[in-house]
Subunit: 206 residues, 2 copies
DNA sequence: TGTACATCAGTGAACGCGCGTTCACTGATGTAC
DNA sequence: TGTACATCAGTGAACGCGCGTTCACTGATGTAC
């Protein structure tokens, strides 16, 4: 938007990422084309080459941005939650689910796709940050360093697994089978999901 | 193999499904082409049209076959397990994970892809059978009909979620972060996974 | 402030490729008598 | 058992399409003096 012309509008990199995300949402992750992204961004199909090496490069960057927004979604839930360690962990899980529901195709790109380059430093750093956040939340409950406490680290696996499983089944529309869940209001559903996340966690009672 | 000629070999439908599965395994679910499947099956690219309406039809059928093998993987684990209701549920979860590990691309086709036609009776029946199996296993523990017992049905959600989350994170190579798990032998790892699955289940203590 | 020049970031034509689908065809198989 | 014929299930050429990538180009912007 810096200028009306598409020449040097200064923002194309960001615009392409946004367009790629829209493409992903609309067409699903299985059909994705750089040419359509360029078209959506209002630019010729050769233009992206000036900003990304290839379509894999663009998707890798998009996945990395995704992890940042993923963390933000968790923080948003945590701000609204009680401050005790368990409520915070549960809120983080709800944020995990929020993010997946709101951005299913991006979530799939981040967790189930082989398209992004997982060796890329920018992507692996973003993903690591999300993981470390989870470890810290469990550590607040266990009052140990999970890296030195297998029981706590098992709870990290458990909490991650439950959040991830709920998120993935939800966006695959598998939970709509459960009419008692589907008919619930959001608050009650959140309460059930929080309970499931905390069930998985045993360190609190140690 | 009924005859050396490719004409009327009588088995092409099955051969195409097998070839499609191999393609999926090797190339991943994101790049899939009917022409390559035909080539792999040793047949001209026009031949599949005599057996499947289109590539979506083939993948739908493959997903349906997948659910049958998915159930078999669970039964295999259950045969080796103790016969009490809880051990059987845990074994079923381990079978879920076995299947995903052994057939990651097929698992993704079944649970995370939009390519198969979920309205298809053959697919939805197969998927329903897998679901009913899980409901029955929880019912054996709760000694209630989960369709009339929300607490039991919540445990169905929980057990499914944990099994699915573990399976999906495992094939996304996310669990290799956990060195204590990655360094374990299979038996110990199974014990941890079983514990996680049963943690999710509360009806047994009611 | 004005001018010359370098660099940046677009354009759009061109390339070769693999895709799904269609279709006239034909060889193999099955059936009627 | 033999023959005529129908049907089945392949073949392979042809179609139009969208893809990623390359490249000579050019207009816009930034810099030196």
């Amino acid at each position: 938007m810096a200028s009306k012309s598409n020449y040097h509008h200064g923002d194309l990199r960001r615009v392409l990422l946004a367009a790629a995300e829209e493409e992903l949402s609309e067409k699903g992750g299985e059909a994705f084309s750089l040419r359509r992204v360029a078209k959506r961004a209002g630019v010729s199909h050769g233009a992206p080459a000036h900003h990304f090496k290839d379509s894999r490069g663009l998707l890798t960057e998009l996945a990395a941005v995704g992890y940042q927004r993923f963390i933000e979604a968790q923080q948003r839930r945590q701000q609204d939650a009680a401050t005790d360690a368990e409520s915070q962990l549960a809120a983080s899980g709800l944020g995990y689910i929020d993010f997946a529901s709101a951005n299913p195709a991006l979530f799939r790109l981040m967790f189930s796709s082989e398209r992004p380059d997982k060796e890329s430093p920018v992507l692996s750093k973003s993903a690591d940050a999300a993981f470390e956040k989870l470890v810290n939340e469990v550590a607040r409950i266990s009052k140990t360093d999970p890296y030195c406490d297998q029981r706590a680290m098992t709870d990290v696996v458990a909490a991650w697994t439950i959040s991830h499983g709920l998120a993935d089944l939800l966006i695959a529309d598998r939970l709509s089978r459960f009419s008692f869940l589907a008919d619930m209001n959001a608050t009650d559903r959140d309460a059930i999901f929080s309970e499931l996340i905390l069930r998985a966690c045993t360190v609190r009672s140690s």
